[in-house]
């Protein structure tokens, strides 16, 4: 009896294996391929849709941790409102455009779900207490990539130095000569600067 049971299980596995590895007697190869393609497109499209949905401003501020703090601060900066109407939203600065780096960033961002569950920054007081640490993480990421997300829009080569204010022009000359990157000097350009920054952090030394 025990032998019959074992044989029955092996048969089920074998039939399943055959079902997936042999052409179906009932469906054509083309039909199977078409269904597979449709399922593939649906899943791939769905995945990318989900990724892009998580890049939307509405998604970012769906958590009050973001909406009540950095979102409010951003609305007072030039990256929100300016003469030409170009607006940089959260993902423009904080999520890489290149697919591979974007996926790495998204996987890294899953840590934020853990923080959300624990309520790490769920009050303004907790947020302020962590602001310097969080900012330093982001500055380090930007520094490591030579401010890649800033450079999606801004380049030294594209700058009209003659149109810049005297001070900005001079600082950009120094930055270019010293191989500095955008985030070295432009900390706090879209959000409040954290308290407790070192002097070298302030000047990008």
């Amino acid at each position: 009896m025990a032998d019959n049971k074992d044989t029955g299980s092996v048969n089920i596995v074998r039939r399943l294996w055959n079902y997936f590895t042999h052409p179906s007697p009932s469906y054509s190869i083309l039909a199977i391929w078409a269904v597979g393609l449709a399922i593939g497109i649906t899943f791939w499209g769905g995945f990318n849709w989900a990724v892009e949905a998580s890049n939307k401003l509405e998604f970012c501020i769906s958590c009050h941790e973001m909406e009540n703090t950095v979102y409010q601060e951003w609305q007072k900066t030039i990256h929100y409102s300016n003469r030409s109407g170009v607006r940089a939203i959260c993902a423009d600065c904080h999520v890489p455009k290149d697919w591979t780096y974007k996926m790495i960033r998204k996987v890294g961002a899953t840590k934020e779900l853990y923080g959300k569950a624990l309520g790490t920054i769920d009050t303004p007081q907790k947020f302020e207490a962590k602001r310097l640490e969080l900012a330093r993480n982001e500055w380090a990421r930007m520094k490591k990539t030579d401010s890649r997300e800033c450079r999606n829009c801004h380049t030294f080569e594209g700058m009209g130095y003659e149109k810049q204010k005297q001070r900005a022009k001079k600082q950009h000359e120094f930055a270019k000569k010293d191989n500095q990157t955008c985030i070295d000097c432009h900390k706090g350009i879209a959000h409040n600067k954290p308290k407790g920054m070192t002097e070298e952090e302030e000047i990008g030394g």
Partner: protein, 329 residues
């Protein structure tokens, strides 16, 4: 105009007697005019400038760039930020002009330097801090030997621990050298980094008023020309001249400066020998050499830090490349 000529003639006669040379009033219409702006500096001292948390432009300072290189075109804007209390001014005086446009001219006759400042007096804030002089105008000259003289002009002398500044030590009037260093009941006057063993720029209290070098070292600095030559016009008292080294050291200097207010415009003129009225404490102005000049106006009965200051400008005899070209006539 008649009064002007009479006064100028009187000054001329006085100086002619001292130098043996004739002195005619300069023809200012032949002298190039440098138009600039003086602005409220608030509590932005030398330490403020050297601290990256206060002043991100310290990178430029470390590279030897002058204040002008970054700020010349935004002086009025800086004044607005400070006067409103947005930056570097914890106690703004309501109604006080953020900045004042000033015209500067300089000429010489081979013997004397003539320096003229003109500005339209801004509206009064109605606050009388100095009960003697409605207007004071101070000029400082560096001969290129003071560490921050060329970069910052007057800022080389301004510190966080001076009177009315944020880190003034209330015990400073008890210092053993209080009288000698012109430390009055409310704190010390200007000094140079060269006279202190250390200058704190990061942690409070910032500055170095009590970290004096030895008398011998300070005298050596004076002999080496490491001081700022200073002249001052005071509308309610006589002019004064002297220098800034370990402290601001001024003495009465009759005939050095005159000023008048005509139709709301102040015209203030300084006359001194090119070689210096006192060669030990004045920088001799010689052809081929470039100096740095900075000036400050205490307008509207202002006192101490509530003045309007200029950045440092280059000054040279008969040199069109200088910001202020002292032309001969």
């Amino acid at each position: 105009m008649t009064k002007n000529l009479i006064t100028a003639s009187a000054v001329g006669l006085l100086l002619a007697g001292a130098t043996g040379a004739g002195l005619a009033a300069p023809d200012w219409s032949k002298v190039p005019a440098k138009k600039t702006t003086v602005f409220q500096p608030g509590v932005a001292s030398l330490e403020w400038i050297l601290n990256g948390s206060d002043h991100s432009g310290v990178r430029g300072v470390r590279k030897g760039e002058t204040c002008n290189a970054c700020h010349e075109e935004e002086l009025a804007d800086i004044g607005k930020k400070i006067a409103s209390g947005e930056k570097a001014e914890p106690k703004p005086v309501k109604g006080k002009a953020p900045s004042i446009p000033v015209t500067v001219q300089a000429t010489h006759d081979g013997t004397n330097l003539y320096l003229r400042f003109q500005y339209k007096a801004p509206a009064s804030a109605g606050v009388k801090q100095d009960d003697k002089s409605q207007v004071k105008l101070a000029v400082m000259l560096d001969a290129g030997k003071v560490e921050y003289g060329t970069i910052g002009g007057c800022w080389a002398t301004c510190h966080d621990d001076l009177r009315t500044m944020p880190d003034v030590n209330p015990d400073s009037p008890k210092h053993a050298k209080a009288k000698e260093l012109d430390i009055r009941k409310n704190g010390p006057t200007k000094y140079l980094k060269e006279t202190r063993t250390a200058l704190e720029t990061k942690n409070k209290p910032r500055g170095g008023w009590d970290k004096l070098k030895s008398d011998a070292e300070i005298q050596a600095a004076l002999k080496e020309g490491k001081f700022l030559d200073m002249m001052q016009f005071r509308s309610g008292e006589g002019p004064r001249e002297g220098y800034v080294l370990d402290a601001r050291r001024l003495k009465a200097a009759p005939g050095l400066a005159e000023g008048k207010n005509e139709g709301g415009t102040w015209t203030i003129t300084f006359t001194r020998k090119l070689a210096g009225n006192d060669p030990a404490t004045d920088h001799a102005l010689v052809p081929g050499k470039t100096y740095t000049i900075g000036f400050a106006i205490h307008d509207d009965w202002a006192n101490e830090r509530y003045h309007h200051v200029s950045l440092g400008y280059s000054l040279a005899l008969d040199n069109p490349k200088a910001d202020i070209n002292v032309v001969k006539q």
